[in-house]
Assembly symmetry: C2
Homo-oligomer: 446 residues x 2
Amino acid sequence: MTRKIHLALHPYGVGGPGQHGLWRDPSIAKNASIDIGYYIQQAQAAEHALFDALFIVDSQFIDPTYPAHYLNRLEPLTLLSAVATHTKHIGLVGTASSTYNSPFNLARRFGSLDHISGGRAGWNVVTSFDTGTSRNYGLDEHLDYTTRYGRALEAVRVIQGLWDSYEDDAFPADVERGVFLDPEKLHALNHVGEHFRVDGPLNLSRSPQGQPVIFQAGVSEEGRNFAAQVAEGIYAPAGPLDQARAYYEDIKRRTAAAGRDPEHIKIFIHAGPIVRATDDEARRRAREIFEEDNDFDRDLALLGRAFGAHDFSQYDLDAPFPDVAHLAERGGRTAAAKIIERARTEGLTLRQVVEASFGQKQSPFVGAPGTVADAIEHWFAAGTFDGLNLAFRNNEDLERFVDGVVPLLQKRGLFRTEYESGTLRGNLGLPVPVNRHTRERSLVDA
Amino acid sequence: MTRKIHLALHPYGVGGPGQHGLWRDPSIAKNASIDIGYYIQQAQAAEHALFDALFIVDSQFIDPTYPAHYLNRLEPLTLLSAVATHTKHIGLVGTASSTYNSPFNLARRFGSLDHISGGRAGWNVVTSFDTGTSRNYGLDEHLDYTTRYGRALEAVRVIQGLWDSYEDDAFPADVERGVFLDPEKLHALNHVGEHFRVDGPLNLSRSPQGQPVIFQAGVSEEGRNFAAQVAEGIYAPAGPLDQARAYYEDIKRRTAAAGRDPEHIKIFIHAGPIVRATDDEARRRAREIFEEDNDFDRDLALLGRAFGAHDFSQYDLDAPFPDVAHLAERGGRTAAAKIIERARTEGLTLRQVVEASFGQKQSPFVGAPGTVADAIEHWFAAGTFDGLNLAFRNNEDLERFVDGVVPLLQKRGLFRTEYESGTLRGNLGLPVPVNRHTRERSLVDA
């Protein structure tokens, strides 16, 4: 069996980063990001095209300079629960912060989505890098990187423990014997760790896929180790092909080193394909978008975001990159350290840093359907991804990809022609985890 | 215009308190409490009958003795978001604890439900009385009553502040001027209080009803004062008629004393009507249910729940009620103090206390449709409620009420014949709160 490509859709409503001007598009409703009808339509279109998942990103802090979609959008779990009953096969991956939610609440909410969707839930674990977020949750200081990732790892393990509170046969519901619950099959967790103390049990049973799928987004050292230990899916930026391949190999190696099957972590990279009838037309459209969305002042503010909302407009744009190393830990984002390193080794000015880091990137997937299918096949064969997390500017662009590129990928045996399963695990080729208590019991019995 | 009765439906899946044996009913699916299809069907049936709201209770702690519905149920906000897109008029009231959720997260989730439902969300604020809950959230000791209610009041005010982050005209989305957001209409909260520090703003605009409706359930002194200050709806136990009337008058008086219009707090009492073709048949059915559900040992465990999971089986059942006053604050429930007081003044044994406090209660709404309609009219005219929060044992019982009693209430002008509005506020006759910043601005301009 040929390895197959997985596809996810990443809807950006009125426009996220790299699509700041999207709200001006007359084909996009001005309230798309808070309109559940928009998300249902996106999910149904993606499901019609046999995509693996709808992927909903999130943040809990805004200022007025942020992209339109960030300013006013639905909370991912409420959003996905509403989408769930209007779809049957597509996975529903929601972002939630392990820094600003308690494990018991996250376990219940993702567990509930998993039941509502019949086993299609995924949790994209983030630790929240916006410094300002902490002040929406009563903390004076943003937690540093190591603390946030330590907390994230412990949170995932606690939550997975809570998801196993009930063994699969815990509810005989036997009227004759008068037994609804078999109390032997209900297990407290009694977790005491560095960041959390959680007794359990959770008041919710397991879903058809056993447990929601754990996703993770992040490229830092801490993020990679976290992924290797617990992630079953990754959402990564693409970058140039060599960089994507190195990242892919590194994650698979670390996962194997952590004692896990590297096939059980699926790496999705971000892609924003531009498909038109001809290569020329597609390239023209790409250039048009580049010019439309280019905004140096906005990108200067985005640079500040990576350094704890630092104001870079105070510096000379054409002087060497200022000494802001002390702010990198406060912002806490790996991006900050990378920016500093690159500015130093390449001797860049502030202006050059902004253009290199936040300016519009050219997608490698621009062209006629055949060209884009070729490029996707090339990147896939080169070992850069297991799946693509696709963002389109509007429905027409989504349709052009679905009608033009998907059939070519199918013809080449690179994409499914029907869903393998009704669960997210089933479609991603991930195993259903056996309940830990059932496993222990079977080990004792053996 | 005659005052009208409001009706809510309170689905209990496989059986909550007072319906412990419900899971044995062959007409109820054994997985009803985790089946979103069950809740959608209940909501649609209630909407078809023009009910004001679907009311979802909640808890975050279980032990194996708890009623079947408690053991394994969906989280209310995920549940209601899924129900929202399958209904058009009915209000969606979800329970969430102000003790174990951060205000920013609650504001986003209820705000999102309010958008998804087009302005039909309500938040039933609870402070969580199960002692064991604290150990699912990392706390050694359960917070005491006063702290929990102080925190609840501050949480509601913070959340209402966050819901006003955007004024209603904050998003001109004017392509010509290139203005999506008018930053003057976005407001940080910068709250610093005893329990919370929350900067804001919230990344979500207001819904068609302005803000979700605040409900509260509780009869303690703290609960009543909390209600008088911020609640717009109350869910109270019924008790005998005199007690319900005294409660009703007390709440309305306190609300007026707090400077609010007493019409802007709607008091719902719990009701479990039993409707049959004749009074005799209904009374027979009531007796049958009483006998089916009677379980002294279970009720003894329930008594323990009010005293911080204390084990009462260690005492002589026929000796005077034991001295457990020191446990009442730990359990923290007003019920505990009331039980002690009653045992003392009436000189009850432990067995008598259990039977009086947790034994099956006879509903005042038992009989043929005309009898039940008469009783409801009598209680309503006596000033005991604005609405009934109805629990039925199964769909047949719901249908008997809807088909038999509702048309009689309509004929008497006591219940609506069509929805007044598409929002929960509109149907409850509650005003849409003007955004506080818009109000301030208009005061300054005047």
